[in-house]
């Protein structure tokens, strides 16, 4: 009788023990998987050896070091990047995702870590006035599907421009260069890198001002995104973002990749916890 009870107890312990131990283990030296959409130059790209590199890769690794976490990168096309997070394919998104109200319904955002404007690009020899809506009738514009730029163009120019929506930013640039698009509305760094519109000999140019408002569409900047219940993990990365700004790591990385300013310095309040 006693023997039977002892055996049952041992068996029960053996079954339950690993279950109970798992959360404790995970807290210690947890591996955090970061989801990212590749390529998005110069934020992330593959080098000749097939390794990931770029501003966000370096920044992400710096943040993980500050937060004392082991991080691995998981590639995920943009279209499915939030469903992938919710389906636990990775634990956080670090992929130039702008904070927007629609996304806030699905995910928990960290502090913003950078903010860039969006710009209208067209061929150098074209004469287009982006504010004169009547003159835009019938022109085609290319955007990446589901981005804040898609939302802005759809909302502000949906009735005049012919909007072409692409799966990747690369396809937009390809079709602009092919001559299929009159205009593209691009994230500033992508436009600098992939289209090189600032060069003297560039066949492309920016028209109109750089656009950062309304905040209801463009948000406060790009941030990491987490599942809503992972508040502790998000707090760790908030502190890490404050740390890389405070010790100059962010500025160093920024100057390494960009010749313009895309910092959004977190306030004292945000960092005091």
């Amino acid at each position: 009788m006693t023997n039977w009870i002892t055996q049952s107890l041992i068996a029960a312990t053996l079954i339950i023990a690993p279950l109970a131990a798992t959360p404790a283990l995970a807290d210690d030296n947890q591996t955090v998987r970061l989801g990212i959409d590749v390529p998005y130059e110069p934020f992330v790209m593959r080098n000749a050896d097939g390794q990931l590199e770029g501003f966000e890769i370096d920044l992400g690794n710096a943040l993980c070091k500050r937060a004392k976490l082991d991080c691995t990168w998981v590639e995920q096309p943009w279209d499915g990047i939030i469903p992938g997070l919710l389906a636990r394919k990775y634990d956080a998104i670090l992929s130039s995702m702008a904070i927007t109200p629609e996304r806030e319904r699905q995910v928990l955002f960290s502090l913003p870590y950078y903010n860039t404007p969006s710009v209208w690009i067209t061929a150098r020899d074209r004469d287009i006035d982006i504010d004169d809506k009547a003159s835009l009738k019938g022109l085609s514009v290319g955007v990446q599907r589901g981005t804040i730029r898609d939302v802005y163009v759809t909302q502000e120019y949906g009735d005049v421009l012919d909007i072409h929506r692409y799966g990747s930013s690369q396809d937009v640039v390809n079709d602009l260069k092919a001559g299929r698009l009159d205009l593209t509305f691009e994230d500033f760094p992508i436009a600098v890198d992939a289209i090189d519109f600032r060069g003297d000999n560039s066949p492309y140019k920016q028209i109109g001002p750089s656009i950062k408002t309304p905040t209801s569409i463009f948000g406060k900047g790009a941030a990491m995104a987490f599942r809503k219940r992972d508040k502790a993990l998000a707090a760790k990365f908030d502190q890490a973002i404050c740390a890389v700004y405070a010790d100059g790591t962010f500025d160093k990385l920024m100057h390494q990749y960009f010749d313009y300013d895309l910092s959004v310095r977190p306030s004292q309040q945000d960092c005091a916890q």
Partner: protein
């Protein structure tokens, strides 16, 4: 009408995804898909009939090029063919300055060309099989009447071949409808493109794709129904008596 409107408003109240705006996207997508599929099937048949006759020719310089064409287009994925037609043509230097650019500038015509070539290849093989299976007795009887080859083809072989090809062709129509979903990769806002847009905008894969799947299902059943009716009428002579 007012009642219907009120019912509709109530149905849509309290959901952020299926607004009049997104339903408009789906509707435009439906129109585009039906246009694209209908046009490519129509052009496909027009191409496939002469090709199918040529495919059965005894002259090698007619027979083998057609065989090569159907072999290549049935042997490669439609997505690849679409990519080649849409992004590939750009690499012909200076195409932007030729008259062809009017066609290739838009996404619709490259897709239509790729889809037409694809479905024409399959349809050619379907028709060729049906032509080859024409009963020997019918051909002998036609010859005994002194019909020329052309007349025999027009009056005897093709009409009976079309009837025999009908069930297989019905399948090809449905396959083409489903295959047309790849059109969204070249920015065409077809049904799948609309679903992708709603998905990417609201991050809600289930509502976006289940809704579009239901629309495809309705289309498929409508096509099946039409072909069933046609088979009933045109293949009546093949049914057992009294059935």
């Amino acid at each position: 009408m007012d009642q219907l409107n009120a019912w509709f408003t109530q149905l849509l109240a309290g959901n952020a995804i299926f607004t009049a705006n997104t339903l408009g996207f789906y509707w435009n997508g439906l129109v585009t898909t039906v246009q694209l599929v209908f046009l490519c099937l129509l052009l496909g048949i027009v191409l496939a009939v002469p090709l199918a006759i040529g495919r059965g020719s005894k002259r090698p310089w007619i027979k083998w090029p057609i065989y090569a064409y159907t072999y290549v287009f049935r042997g490669t994925p439609l997505l690849i063919q679409l990519y080649l037609v849409y992004y590939g043509v750009v690499f012909f230097n200076g195409i932007q300055d030729t008259i062809f650019w009017e066609v290739f500038k838009d996404a619709f015509y490259p897709a239509l060309i790729a889809f037409t070539l694809n479905t024409a290849a399959y349809t050619t093989e379907i028709f060729r099989g049906a032509i080859k299976n024409t009963a020997k007795g019918e051909i002998e009887a036609a010859r005994a009447y002194g019909m020329s080859k052309g007349l025999m083809m027009r009056r005897i072989i093709l009409p009976s071949a079309f009837r025999r090809a009908l069930p297989a062709y019905g399948n090809e129509v449905i396959f083409m409808l489903h295959a047309s979903a790849v059109a969204s990769v070249v920015t065409i806002m077809d049904l799948t493109g609309a679903a992708y847009y709603v998905y990417a905008r609201f991050y809600a894969p289930f509502p976006a794709f289940i809704f579009v799947a239901l629309i495809y299902l309705c289309l498929t059943f409508s096509i099946m129904f039409v072909f069933r009716q046609m088979e009933k009428r045109l293949l009546a002579h093949l049914r057992p008596r009294g059935a």
